[in-house]
Amino acid sequence: MKDTRQKKEFDTIASTQGSSTELLAAVYNVQESVESPHSTSTTQYPLNVDRSNETNSDEQVQTARKPKRTIKRLIVKDEFE
């Protein structure tokens, strides 16, 4: 039997490639530099993305995605101690 999950994934690639994620930066008082195309918040720990308000639906899991690297430059308002 043909695995229909694969087909579904490729259908959804285009719609997911541009999705942005909110970065929770683990540094105090950071402000994003102008050259960065993303948005950030100044929330502290954890450094990873907070997805506690998302649902883990099958559709989300099935979406075919590739690992994606991002380089983000943040401007620190205050010096680190």
Partner: protein
């Protein structure tokens, strides 16, 4: 031969298990501080597999940072009358491996977005394409570097592949926090042992140089 990755469990334990599969994990490859700038270099992995030994994870969970008690069950105290904590089982990090979508992997496109950083970058970043003659050995797990995963139709994860060469580590605290929201399922016992053994074998391989006779 049945290639299904066996029984997929979903446990409710708050601790991390070997064989757990998590989704949407952000791995910070480097964090540099220069002047008034912090440069974050990170990778978003759609799926990751927990490789660390389960006995280590169990002991860390069961024994680490527990206050010592004496034979009579009383709290042991140091000379300052403070508790004595056992930290012998502490884990600093957890070993993980990325899980790649098999169809994207076959096309050699699974690493493309690791190097293409902007829409203006028109270069092509490709991995080796997998021809039809190479597909069967991969699915049969005859290539030591990779482990093919195929789940039942009822499982929402499509056919995928683990690349042992791309293993990485993350702090246990980070993984514990992620697990609460990003956990999908755990690979069945027999199958995760197979993955563990194959990973250990791959990691301990001996690189043999090619000897060219002059």
């Amino acid at each position: 031969m049945n290639r299904l990755t066996g029984i997929i469990n979903k446990h409710n334990s708050p601790r991390v298990f070997q064989g757990d599969i998590l989704r949407d994990v952000t791995y910070y490859q480097s964090v540099h501080y220069s002047g008034k700038e912090v440069i974050l270099n990170y990778i978003d992995f759609p799926f990751v597999y927990i490789l660390s030994q389960d006995c280590d994870l169990t002991q860390e969970n069961d024994h680490n940072m527990k206050a010592r008690v004496d034979d009579k069950g009383r709290l042991a105290l140091n000379q300052n009358r403070e508790p004595i904590y056992e930290v012998d089982k502490t884990l600093i990090s957890v070993m993980l491996a990325p899980i790649y979508n098999f169809e994207i992997f076959r096309k050699g496109e699974h690493l493309q977005d690791l190097y293409c950083l902007s829409d203006n970058d028109k270069k092509t970043y490709t991995a080796q394409k997998i021809g039809s003659d190479q597909k069967k050995p991969l699915i049969g797990n005859n290539n030591p570097r990779f482990h093919y995963l195929q789940f039942k139709q009822s499982c929402p994860i499509p056919p995928s592949i683990i690349d042992f060469k791309h293993y990485f580590t993350m702090s246990l605290d980070e993984i514990k926090q992620l697990r609460a929201t990003q956990y999908i399922c755990t690979v069945g016992a027999l199958f995760k042992n197979d993955i563990s053994q194959r990973f250990a074998s791959y990691l301990s391989r001996v690189g043999i140089p090619v000897i060219v006779e002059s």
